[in-house]
Symmetry: C2
Subunit: 386 residues, 2 copies
């Protein structure tokens, strides 16, 4: 099979865009991605979105955004898998190109939390957990993550500030990312004195809900315009996996099976081993998720994922840089757009254009997008083509 | 490329399933489809759903349903394109198989309207139209269809009961379909005396919102078990297209561009001309949609689609049988499941197992799933392999 490549990227700043509508956000990212792709004309649009039917009372985003972006007529669809919607949209676009039925695919992840405020957001977020058995009891994604983190800290005797470096690393990396929501480094004391949200999760263990859109243009390698100037990035591996929504249905709540399965398949397809992965964009909606992903993918043994943060391995100059542009914690968490932001940021790194955030010699990246507590995981291996 | 075939079908009765949950409905259809597929093991699940995040407060259906169906671990995603969600899920499954990355894909369309009652349903349905410019003014899909029909009747001087035969044909075909919501034939007087809902749409111009689930198993031809007993059905053509959500953004509201584009592409791919299509499963959520699809696909010239109904061409023994198992009008309209029901019914016909409803010698079918007033259209050509 021919290589599927990412030939264009675009993104908006992540933040609270009270004055910009959902379709405008999507358009901004698409505009930049199509411009970056130097004239490639998309035939299909895959929209990654998590909550617009609730937060913005707007479903049917595929046709809406295709039209608004001046692409009326192309096929267009929304792909939803909770927080993994962005990764899942990328995967559908990948399959479309790989099928040979579509030559150029446009992926846009878009989310707008500020169309709703206060408890309406929690209520909407709760639709991504098991409505009949979890949400109905009042659980929210945040309180669910707190249960996971509490159990983890108990099982593995993690000290009180053991997770601090996930937030510190993310914020350090956010400083130089002009699209990040938070561009201020934090100190260990900032973390240790932070307001508790749902014990033991404090404010800095939780990525901020935010508005944003990111876009990608996918095509087959041979269709890339001959005047193309950027290093090409190939999708070398793509895989997804699902698990129970409800935590109580799992044998082991402290192991993210889907993170393991999807990363393993993507790496196998790419012919890549762990040591060859130069950086990892994990789904740090909560710091406990990041720790559990590091373990499931195999970067740490069970119970030791948090040590990779504590020991500095995930920092920009560490053994395994993570959240290299600020991650969800500092770049912000625009729901179903997040997985597309991961890809845009990884491509920026692989092109060698991450400026102050550049990971030296980055050639291979793993990005992983989660829905709920890894009820869905979508993994991609991206590689620079020389 | 190898042939993509439909190797398993399943469906629930369509109706008001107050006592059965969303996941149970999906499971019932999946169970039957997997049984029909004789042991094929799916690696991917594509869920077609339109309104569960609003009507059932449940998003993230991919992982939820995969787990509930005993398929924990497979990749799973929700595909949404309003009323075309079922057709769009089929298309994504088709692309996945065509890519060679997935060997066996499971498609399930599921919708549960009865989780909500009264105006909550209209409010949810309105999220599929343009929220910022249409829904905000109070328009609903039904009132929008009424505007279309009124204009059509005016432009083409259609007499008062000119659309009656769409309903009469659907109800006649629903009688022998044990999964249909309405199994009673109606008389011309029933139509002409029916309650007006939104002038000129009467109760019989509108398909009933309903609960239901339908499922398909897709694979490559060579992977079909050797003990396979049913005639195989091939997906010979697959295509989709998008248009504006809002009617006021169209040049001509009385022509369904997407229906034309997607049917044309699917027929071109299949190498099929109009005369070779033995029956047409249109998206008769409203009788005016059916008329406009007949015109856009090319079965009638502009302004004459209603005549195919009035003249009896769409009846079971007519020139172009439509809604052969009752269509949305009599089988019922389970939102995002509808496009999958169309495929299940077409396969039943092509296998020669439609019993009293059998279209003699049926070999080639066109099915077309719409989102909104053809803001999305997804078309598939299905063919019996001899």
């Amino acid at each position: 099979m021919t290589d599927v490549v990412i030939a264009g990227i675009g993104q908006t700043e992540v933040g609270e865009h009270w004055d910009i509508g959902l379709r405008d956000l999507a358009y901004a990212a698409i505009h930049d991605a199509l411009h970056d792709a130097g004239g490639l004309k998309p035939q299909a649009l895959f929209v990654g979105n998590m909550l617009a039917p609730n937060l913005s009372r707007q479903a049917h985003l595929g046709a809406l955004i295709a039209d608004y972006a001046g692409l009326t007529g192309i096929e267009a669809v929304t792909v939803e898998a909770a927080g993994a919607s962005g990764g899942a949209a990328l995967r559908q676009g990948y399959l479309a190109i790989a099928s040979g039925m579509v030559d150029v695919a446009l992926i846009v992840g878009v989310e707008k939390f500020t169309d709703k405020i206060g408890s309406g957001v929690d209520e909407a977020l709760a639709t991504t957990s098991d409505s009949d058995f979890e949400a109905v009891q009042g659980i929210t994604p945040t309180s669910q993550a707190a249960l996971l983190m509490k159990r983890y800290m108990h099982e593995y005797a993690v000290p009180a500030n053991g997770f601090a470096n996930f937030a510190l690393t993310a914020h350090a990396n956010g400083v130089a990312n002009k699209n990040a929501m938070f561009r201020k480094a934090i100190k260990p004391e900032t973390y240790s004195k932070a307001e508790m949200v749902s014990d033991p999760l404090n404010m800095f263990d939780i990525a901020p809900n935010a508005d944003g859109a990111a876009a990608l243009v996918l095509t087959r390698r041979e269709l890339v315009p001959s005047n193309w100037q950027s290093p090409l990035v190939k999708i070398a591996g793509s895989a997804a996996s699902s698990d129970t929504l409800a935590l109580h249905d799992r044998k082991d709540i402290l192991y993210f099976d889907t993170a393991q399965i999807s990363a393993g398949k993507a790496m196998k397809q790419a012919g890549v081993i762990l040591d060859q992965i130069n950086f990892f964009e994990y789904h740090d909606a909560f710091s406990i998720y990041a720790a559990l992903q590091l373990e499931a993918v195999g970067f740490a043994i069970k119970g030791k994922g948090w040590r990779l943060a504590a020991d500095g391995a995930i920092s920009r100059t560490g053994k395994l840089p993570c959240a290299t542009m600020g991650g969800m914690k500092a770049r912000g968490f625009p729901g179903g757009a997040s997985g597309v932001y991961q890809a845009v940021e990884a491509v920026t790194q692989l092109r060698g254009r991450a400026e102050a955030n550049q990971i030296a010699g980055a050639k291979t990246a793993l990005i992983q997008s989660l829905g709920g507590p890894a009820s869905t995981a979508v993994s991609h291996i991206l590689q620079r083509l020389d």
